[in-house]
Structure formats: C-alpha cells, structure tokens
Subunit: 324 residues, 2 copies
C-alpha cells in the first residue's frame, strides 16, 4: 500500500483504513494541565463529558467550528480561550493570536470570517500600556484578516489570577460552497499535506519563557489562514477532504483526532515533515517531538484526488509569497 514518497519537499503522509475507535471516557477525579493540552486527556473531556451532556450534533462532529443553519444560510461558529505566558513573544502576542486562532478555525471549516467577538478577563493591576498594546494587536490582526469585532465584554479578577489577561474570541463565518470539508471524510489512499514547517509557535513560546536557558532564533508562525484556504479552495475545491490547523498538541494530535473521526490510520515518515533547523535543535535538546508542538499558521490538508505535484506547487508558491 505505502507508495514511494518523493522526499522531504512533498510533506506527504498517507492514510490507511482501520477500525472505528470507541468514544473516550472521562474518568479522572480532578482536572490536570493535560486536560487543556489538546491530547488524549482533552479528547476524554470532550468525548466523555461535553458531547454527551450537550447532546449536540455540532459538537459531536468534533470539527474546528460548529454548524448553524439560519434561514437556509450555512454558518460556522467557533470559540477559543487564549491563556499564554508570556503575553508577548517573538513573532506575536496573545491579542494577535486570539484573532488569528479563531479566524483560522473558521477557515479550517471552509468558512469565510464574518465577525468576531472579544471577551477579556483582566488581572487587577495590569498596566494600561499592556492592555493598549494588546488592543492594538487585536485591531491590527482583525484588519489584516478582514473581520470586524462586533461585540465584547470585560471582566476584572483579583491580583494574582488570570496571568495578566485571558482572551476569549468567538468567530462567525459563512461556509464556502467550494469546500465540502469534514473530519470524517478521510479515506484510505488519500494524502495529507502539511502547509509548511512545523513547531515554530510552541517553540517560540517555550523559549520566550526563559526557563530553559536556551537561546534560539525562532518566531511564532501566527497568521490568518483564510487567504491561503481561499486560494486552495479555488485551486482544489472538492478534492480537499478536510483541513485542520495544527495548534495545541501539534500535527500529531491533529492526525490522531482525524484518525479517530474517520476510522483510518496514517503512515507518517518523519523525514517528510519539514522542520526548521532551529526548531529541530531546540526540540532535540528539550527531548520533545516537533510533531507535538503547537503551530498557529500551519495546517494539515487532506486531499483525495489532487495530484501530488500540483499540491506541492501550491504550497511552495505560498511559502514564497509569505512575507512573515
């Protein structure tokens, strides 16, 4: 089954069939950091607690965004809380991240962003200057993504809570008819393409915390993905089965989630996944796998019928155009 792959540049992973996994159960007695890390414990919370309690078809689909139908209109709704330490880091900051992260979840659902809401939890004593800087970052990111902030809320919590600020953004989008994307549409024989080098955001954050005594020139890859998705849907349309941005938990967690949703297994060749040398170096020293490190501007695209060469050309072109 596994065909010969054409080397590092192709970024191709393969899909084979498997049995459908059982829904994970939530059996822990207390919440631990791992429940928020995007891996197995998070899945157990979503599949074992939230989805059954809310009996929601949209939640059960476990996509990046929920579906809402209004007067025949196919809308997508997605929400994300951002808790980042430190608040700013090489390549971005929490405000920019909050806008891009939510716009990207819409993009992954094949939805053009229409509007955002912004809910802030601020820590008592936060310098107004820090807030101003993040408000400006949010405004700039929203302008770049072409989306308006239409509603907001601010709460303040006592000193020592909230790490400066937590940001919750929710995005409303209109699903694009060119794409028929779903996490359960993957079939054996399809290919997975990663849209660029991985692990940069998470590595930049870890380095910025300064706890590791490491110094490397790695910037977060945070950026809005809708323009790229828009172009991809134009180029490939229905040939694309699914898109997923590889945030928390990295590319590995995305592949795990999609394997579960579609009842398929995936063959990943480490050498085919592009990793920036500085990221690879930091990961080696820290003993972590870049496949599990967060990205904020990369996605896995799952294409059935599109030819290998065409997809490669598409992403090479995007890499060239990227100014950031």
């Amino acid at each position: 089954m596994p065909e010969t792959v054409s080397g590092r540049e192709s970024r191709i992973l393969e899909i084979i069939e498997t049995a459908r996994a059982k829904r994970a159960k939530f059996r822990d007695t207390h919440i631990t950091m791992s429940h928020g890390a995007g891996g197995k414990a998070t899945t157990s919370l979503v599949e074992g607690l939230f989805a059954p309690a809310f009996a929601s078809d949209a939640l059960n689909a476990l996509g990046d965004a929920g579906s809402v139908s209004a007067d025949g209109l196919d809308l997508a709704l997605t929400t994300d809380s951002f808790v980042v330490k430190p608040l700013s880091f090489p390549g971005g900051s929490i405000g920019e991240l909050a806008v891009n992260g939510t716009v990207n979840d819409l993009a992954m659902a094949g939805a053009r962003p229409l509007a955002l809401t912004l809910s802030l939890v601020l820590e008592e004593g936060l310098p107004a200057q820090t807030l101003r800087a993040e408000v400006e970052a949010i405004a700039a990111a929203a302008r770049e993504a072409g989306v308006e902030i239409v509603a907001g809320d601010t709460k303040v919590v006592e000193r020592g809570h909230a790490d400066g600020m937590y940001v919750c953004t929710t995005g409303l989008g209109l699903r694009d008819p060119r794409g028929k994307l779903a996490p359960d549409r993957l079939r054996a024989g399809e290919r997975i393409l990663v849209s660029g080098s991985i692990g940069e955001h998470g590595t930049a954050i870890m380095l910025a915390r300064g706890e590791l005594g490491l110094d490397a020139d790695v910037e977060s890859d945070t950026r809005p993905l809708w323009p790229l998705v828009d172009a991809l849907l134009d180029a490939a349309g229905p040939a694309v089965s699914c898109l997923r941005d590889a945030t928390r938990g990295g590319v590995a967690s995305v592949l795990n989630e999609l394997s579960r949703s579609s009842a398929v297994a995936m063959i990943v060749r480490e050498g085919d996944v592009p990793v920036h040398p500085a990221v690879a170096g930091a990961a080696e020293i820290l003993g972590i796998d870049p496949m599990y490190v967060a990205n904020e501007g990369k996605f896995a695209s799952l294409a059935g019928t599109m030819a290998n060469a065409e997809l490669n050309a598409f992403f090479r072109d995007d890499m060239k155009k990227r100014t950031k």
Copy 2:
C-alpha cells in the same frame, strides 16, 4: 413634565431630554476591579479604548449584542465572560448563569437565540465533580432556553488561578422583525418599566460568600428572558423602544448607559422601584443601593406609546406565571 405616577406597582420611571454626553476617555495607568464592575470605569474602557481601536459600528452602538448582516439576514452576536465566586449560590451557579446571561443579551437585542458556544478556563486541581455539575447546569439551562451548544474550547491554568473556572459564552441570534430596539431610541415622555423586583442576584452572591456575617433568604433571579421578551414583542411590538437587562451595575448603570446613548435624563422615584424586603434589608445593613446591585432575570423596558395599565398587566401576568 413629570406626571403623577400610580404608585409602587407601576414601576414607572420617566425620561426627559438632555444634552448628549461626551465619549468617556480612558486615562488610567492600571486596571482596577472597577473596570470590570459595569459602571463609569467600564464605560471609559469601552468608549475610550475599545470602540476607537476597533472602529466598529456595532461596538459603537454599545448595545447588548452586535449586529452582523449575512446574505440579508439580520443576526445578533454577543459574548460574556463569567467570573463568579462562589461557583454556586442559592438559585443558581456559574454554568446556568453563563447560558442565561448570554441568551438574555440576545433577547435584549430582540433576537431569538440560535446557538451558543462555550469556552472554559479551568483551574488545575478542580474536582471533576464540580465540573460535571456545571456541565449539567449548562446543559439544563441550554435546554430550557431552547438553544444548542455548537462549539466549545477548554483551557487549563495553573493551580491558584481562575477561581475554579471561568466560563465564556457567546450567543448567535436572529433579530425578530417585531422589535425595533436600540439604546439610542429613547425620547422624552417615554416610560421605563422594570420587569420585576431588583437586586436579588447580586445580593444572593454577596451573602453566599459568607464574608458579611449576614444570613438572609435571597435567591438569584437567574432565568432565560427570551420567552418573556417574545410575549412582550407580541403584545407591544414597535411600542417598545429598548430593552436592557440589568446585570452588572444594576438598574442604575443601565439607566446611565441609556441616558448617554439617547441624550436623555431620567427621573427615578425610589418608592416606585420594587425591591424584595430581604434585599432591602441586606442592602441597608451593607450600605449599598439595590439600584446598583446585579440582576440576572430582570430587565428595563422602555415603552413609548403603550399604555401604563397594559404594561402593568403584562408584567403582573409574568410575575404570576413565574415558577421560579
């Protein structure tokens, strides 16, 4: 100008004209608890920082929900973060509050709730039992409000942060054509009606904290307001200028905000505003004014042409029907 008012039962406040207030400026150097309290400092943050930075028409309107137009559809989008200590209290809990609060913001915009998103920030070490209880409260409140939870997110922060949990809910609604509601539609001669006795939610929370050494039988009034608004729009339709739920900052803050938006002043007769004796008693001991205490199931309705007697009958009827 001030007419004779017909006593406590009428719950009538009056509106007179005034000059338009200037936009508040944000000049503080640090964030304080007051920036989250819903009063003047919050207004300075919204009018002085957020609205100019985001240059958003929807935010500038300062309504309970933002407007989004999609293919001719008139949608409303609103977001709220809930930070409550303790997490549960007589009459409700943070989960129920988060659903009702957001559904109610949609209702105040004259919008029928379509979908909710739920974003949780959990504290490391939170007992799973507490989370389960809140997830069930959220599910029950969503069922009662007739709205589906279509997307979610969970983050976990280190022990000692987030007070157990913070909940951010965002609501999408479809504006009802029967209502033409706006915070700047108030005109001199109109009347303000409060939909019931005030100050219960905030008083219940203060008592539940147990810091005051006071014991009184006060329950939060948390409930979804859309059914009542639905009936009101049926009964009064275009005669209603504006609806606003009197949450953070209480009825007084709502009246202040609306005065600013519509360039009117209001005459409030204390004796005409219904207050439960237990709330009045607690407020007197604590030296606070129930007009500034939060509600979660009461709103101010601003009616131009509807007759006094009709509106009174409407709200009396609602009070009778309330099972909670």
